[in-house]
Amino acid sequence: MNVVAVQDVSKTFGAGHTAVTAVDHVSLNVDAGDIVLIMGPSGSGKTTLLSMIGTLMSPTTGRILISGQDTSTLAPAQLSRLRLQEFGFVFQTFNLLSALTAEENVMMPLITAGVPRKEARAKARTALEQLQLGHRLRNLPRDLSGGEKQRVAIARSLANDPRLILADEPTANLDAKTGQDVTLLLCETACRENRAVIIVSHDQRLRTAAKRVITIEDGRLTAEEAGDHNLNCRMHPESVQS
């Protein structure tokens, strides 16, 4: 079963002669272990598509199935649950909670899902250590570098073992090298655990990591090609035992 099945989805903002069709009859399937890079010019509808897949926005027409479940049939509270359990989000502007330490930011989705505090803390710590942030657990976001913040955000997105990670321009607020390193880290971690990843980006260098590269123009999918998928997807020695 596809992790995501986008079936002939369109999204129109506004009505009448000011209407903008941001996404235009798009169909797309994403499977476990897929690393999909969506590219396209500004205003082509990338973010809109990603928001609909992430159930933050509903399509005007068409259907989106998540693990076979038609999202249009779900109530808001069920969609919240679905996002909490099935999705991890990574944003351009990191979007960490400013009052919480790195560790607590990663604990948030776990606590929301009802994981006991102690267990959540232990999990958050392990996740951050795997992303080389073991020395930054108690730091507030304002004391972290951009790359560190994005790594905390990645740890947060992975906290609840999601099947799918959605990232919108994860490198745009980072310098080229850091952006690429962090995204590769995300892709490797995901691919090791057979999660699906959808990344929206202008960054051509991410093609090395992607398994599939999709181009979107004026709201339509115009091309799909294979990416290099040049990743080390073998398990890290330290995570083998678990």
Partner: protein, 368 residues
Amino acid sequence: MLFLAIKNLVEEKTRLLISVGGVAFSVLLIMSIQGLYQGWSNKIGEYIRTVPADYWITQTGATDMFHTPSVLPLTVRDFLTGVPGVATAKPFSGRRVAFAHNGRDINLYVIADDTENNVGAPARVVEGKAVPDKGEIIIDRVVGRSENIRIGDTIPVAGRELKVAGYSEGGYILSFSFAFATKEDAESILQLPGATNFFLVTVKENADASGVASRIEADPAVDAITKDRFVENNTNIVRDTFLPIILVLLLIGIAVGMTVIGLTIFTSTIEKAREYGVLKAIGVSNRQLYTVVVEQAVTAAVLGYLVGAALALAVSAAAGTYVPEFITEIRWLDAAWIFGVTFVMAVVSSLLPVRRLARIDPAEVFRA
């Protein structure tokens, strides 16, 4: 989610200080006035409770010692002692007397200390003589201190010069205080020849008290009021004076507290709108987010309550030693209802931020 609520609060120290300060101010206000009310209510009851009587016999229609005049001819005593079941019936004379001393208005409730009948003695004498002699008066220590009247001073009570012979305690209520003169002096001050204000009746041990009362009330000129009821009637006077003040301060306190909490939590919610959007996106339910906001309001309010209650206790302890009129009693019951009000206030004041929260669109988080 309490930890997030607390972290959010602590992150903005100034705002937290403002909301805690606002609530503390309200609690201090409400608790102090309530304590004052309770303190004075107790004081007034305290003296009346020491007066030995099962029933207070008043002129018909008179219900208390202050509001309604009660004058009874001494001959009523014969009637009362003749009522089956009555053990003793003793006259009790006392009334408010106002006069000026050193340019200040002084209000005393002069009571005849009837040593012969053992009625009308001060509850507690703390300095000087316990029983006044002719030409002497015992006043409350609070009046002595606040009006600077020392033992040995002479004061003009209703035209008669009386020498202050002692200080009693526990008889200061609102704007007047109990004072004690000999029966003869009191009668001339109170102008009660052949009359008194009340009779104090005790009932024989095995007599049916209410039966005795109805036999007394067979006389249309008098009412028989139980001691408890009489105490209550008198404390009600304090209540009637205080209740409107308490209500006004309660409203002010609630308004201040709600505004401060409501505004600080509201601005914090607006400032954190993006973070709340992120939380919605990652799957935190609306209900969980509302809880965070309500918890912030309640936490700030509880802190404010603790600070305010501590201040109220400190203020009433300190003020009591410097300003003797400031008699307060802060009861657990009052602390509890004020806490309840604070809590409800916090919850209500988070309604506005919660509405704001409901409108946050999680899709916005993908816009940079």
